[in-house]
């Protein structure tokens, strides 16, 4: 009986997944899958990878948000508000300049490494400054991101890669086909990993001193968490570009509704972010049919509004 809400939510997401599979420029119905080999081929090359990429990327960003919010103990952080995404972008750009022919996997490695460095820099800066208010934390992160981004943009402009950078940052799922999304499965492993280690992150989220006094290897958890975030951010950024605000909104909404038990929240966080991502993608595909607006852009708009609403709500409750 307790699992009923979760099961019905899962069914709802499944309906969205099916909708995502069968809506698009190339007309594929459930029946033509059996009768038309071309349609089946198209379905497997484009639709299935796209939908899988949507699911995995959404889960990745949501989980990154959860981990960062626990480690930093601040509700307003996630890869785009800590500069981590900007670092990943710098990594990819540098690799593109130095070895233009590098494979996708190498690019992801570079992006993840830089994202890791970026998350570390953010944590170091954060640990060295006294915080007068919760909202200062994302301001620090975004300023750091702006700093990195100015370097990235300068390198891009002096190597004629500026437009490529813009294309690639605004990414989206339209170019996802078989053969280009598979590394995202690694992200699936990260989600499982987080589920296993969830309780430790919950305790780490109480703060360093509490965690240490409870006998937790705090540094190791911090390192593991950062590695997970960096991998998720790096891989997702390379495959689909920046996914703004997802990791911030969904975990917070779930926490507001259900409290802060990570392990019990995790299924809800993943389901809700997948649903949000697919809805954004469908909106982007249907509004200007048969063209499309990248899901990331729709999410950016929706996310900004929801983020602002969250800040204002927080302000209404207590002074920030």
């Amino acid at each position: 009986m307790r699992r009923l809400p979760l099961a019905s939510a899962a069914l709802g997401v499944l309906a969205l997944v099916i909708a995502s599979l069968f809506i698009g420029g190339y007309d594929i119905g459930p029946r033509s899958l059996f009768t038309d080999p071309d349609a089946r081929e198209m379905f497997l090359i484009s639709r299935v990878p796209r939908t899988l990429a949507l699911i995995l990327a959404a889960a990745a960003m949501a989980v990154s948000g959860v981990i960062m919010q626990m480690l930093v103990q601040n509700r307003f952080v996630e890869p785009t508000t800590t500069g981590t995404s900007e670092w990943a972008a710098l990594g990819v750009l540098l690799l593109t300049v130095l070895t233009p022919g590098a494979s996708l996997l190498v690019k992801m490695g570079a992006a993840s490494l830089f994202a890791f460095a970026g998350a570390l820099v953010f944590l170091v800066v954060l640990s060295r400054i006294a915080l007068k208010s919760q909202v200062i934390v994302p301001i620090v992160g975004i300023m750091l991101g702006a700093l990195v981004s100015s370097v990235t943009v300068y390198i891009a402009s002096s190597t004629q890669l500026l437009q490529m950078l813009a294309t690639w940052r605004s990414g989206g799922f339209s170019s996802v086909v078989r053969g280009s999304y598979e590394p995202l499965w690694a992200v699936g492993a990260i989600v499982v990993g987080l589920y296993v280690a969830a309780d430790r992150f919950t305790i780490a989220g109480l703060g360093r001193d509490t965690a240490v006094s409870l006998g937790l290897p705090y540094r190791r958890i911090l390192f593991t968490g950062l590695t997970m975030v960096a991998l998720a951010t790096g891989v997702t950024t390379v495959v689909v570009g920046f996914i703004p605000f997802l990791g911030l909104i969904v975990p917070n909404l779930v926490s507001m509704a259900r409290g802060d038990d990570i392990r019990r929240n995790l299924p809800w966080v993943v389901l809700a972010s997948v649903a949000l991502m697919i809805v954004c993608d469908l909106v982007g595909r249907l509004v200007v049919f048969p063209m499309e607006i990248p899901a990331t852009l729709v999410l950016g708009a929706v996310g900004a509004v929801m983020f602002v609403a969250m800040i204002l709500r927080q302000r209404g409750k207590a002074h920030v």
Binding site: K132, V135, L147, S150, A304
Partner: protein, 348 residues
């Protein structure tokens, strides 16, 4: 209140910065080193030397042509330095924060978005074709409107917090940026090239025609800020103290923010976005002024900003032969200084 100085303002200590501001900044400690007048005179002298060097040295070809071009660049530098220096110092005073710069409120994002939108809707030639006074004014007003709306919306409530306002500005800025990214990928490469030149600070390509208007705006804003310099000193004491000393805190904040956004918006429309330049000038100004009085810090910041731009341009042009790179270098170094300063100061 306007011309009579409140007794506490003369030695107004900044909120928590007194400890690391050295002996000169403290309320009780006597000032060491040069008197302020000498400090200002020294800075002005350095600026004068830099200006003369910049205007007259290494002229190749006809004197008249090169001189006129250099005068235009110098005029732009004066305006940019003034806007960022005064804008940042005032902004830091009203936000009670020595590290933030007004650019953080999303000016750059609004500017980039409007430029990108123009090219995306009307094509690449539109940028050159519509350049002119009306566009400069429209662009400036758009950015001012953005910050004032933000301010009205977020600061007018009972729980108004300047940090919340900043954060919302930053978030909207992120959203604008992702919209700009999307629009930019729709452009043809040649259109994008035209646009790309506008997305950086550029001191060397301003039109002579804009300078009188921009200069007039600077003069007017400068006069208003100068007139209110003691009120600014009082604002440093914090909302409660300032209010009890007879300052209409919110009204003062509104006026100052309007002026700041006018300055930064105009400078951005004129010479492109610069994020960290204002931070560097304000920081150096506080170090060299040896006091927190706005009557000293404001002119000092302006002089230091101008010295950075003129001297920097001279060095870039004749030592590194890279005349277009100044803003990039300043932004990069400024960003690095920002990071180091953030770590050393230990609070934002």
């Amino acid at each position: 209140m306007s011309e009579t100085r409140p007794p506490t303002a003369a030695t107004a200590p900044h909120d928590k910065a007194t400890s690391d501001a050295g002996p000169a900044g403290g309320a009780a400690a006597p000032r060491k080193g040069l008197p302020v007048a000498a400090r200002l005179a020294l800075a002005a002298g350095l600026v004068a030397v830099a200006v003369v060097l910049f205007l007259f040295l290494f002229i190749e070809g006809t004197f008249a042509f090169a001189f006129e071009r250099r005068l235009t660049v110098l005029g732009t530098m004066v305006i940019v330095a003034f806007a960022h220096a005064v804008g940042t110092v005032v902004f830091q005073t009203i936000t009670h924060n020595r590290i933030l710069t007004p650019s953080i409120m999303g000016f750059d994002a609004v500017y980039i978005l409007t430029q990108t939108l123009l090219v995306a809707v009307f094509g690449g030639s539109v940028l050159a074709a519509t350049d002119g006074m009306p566009k400069l004014v429209t662009q400036t007003l758009l950015m001012v409107c953005f910050t004032m709306l933000l301010f009205r919306w977020l600061f007018s409530g009972r729980n108004g917090s300047i940090h919340v306002m900043l954060l919302v500005g930053v978030v909207l800025g992120l959203a604008f940026r992702s919209l700009s990214d999307f629009l930019q990928r729709l452009l043809s490469p040649s259109e994008h090239d035209v646009l790309a030149t506008r997305l950086f600070g550029r001191l060397t390509s301003a039109e002579v025609g804009y300078l009188p208007l921009a200069g007039a705006v600077c003069l007017i804003v400068g006069a208003v800020v100068w007139h209110r310099r003691y009120r600014l000193d009082t604002l440093l004491l914090g909302r409660e103290t300032a209010t009890s000393l007879g300052i209409a805190h919110k009204r003062e904040l509104t006026v100052m923010l309007l002026l700041v956004s006018l300055l930064i918006a105009m400078s951005t429309a004129l010479a492109g976005p610069m994020t960290f330049f204002g931070f560097v000038t304000a920081m150096l100004a506080y170090q060299f002024a040896g006091t927190h009085r706005h009557a000293v810090v404001l002119p000092m910041a302006f002089l230091i900003g101008l010295l950075t731009l003129v001297g920097g341009q001279f060095v870039m042009e004749h030592v590194f032969y890279a005349s277009g790179m100044l803003t990039v270098v300043i932004e990069f170094l400024g960003g690095a200084v920002f990071l180091v300063h953030l770590l050393r100061k230990g609070s934002l």
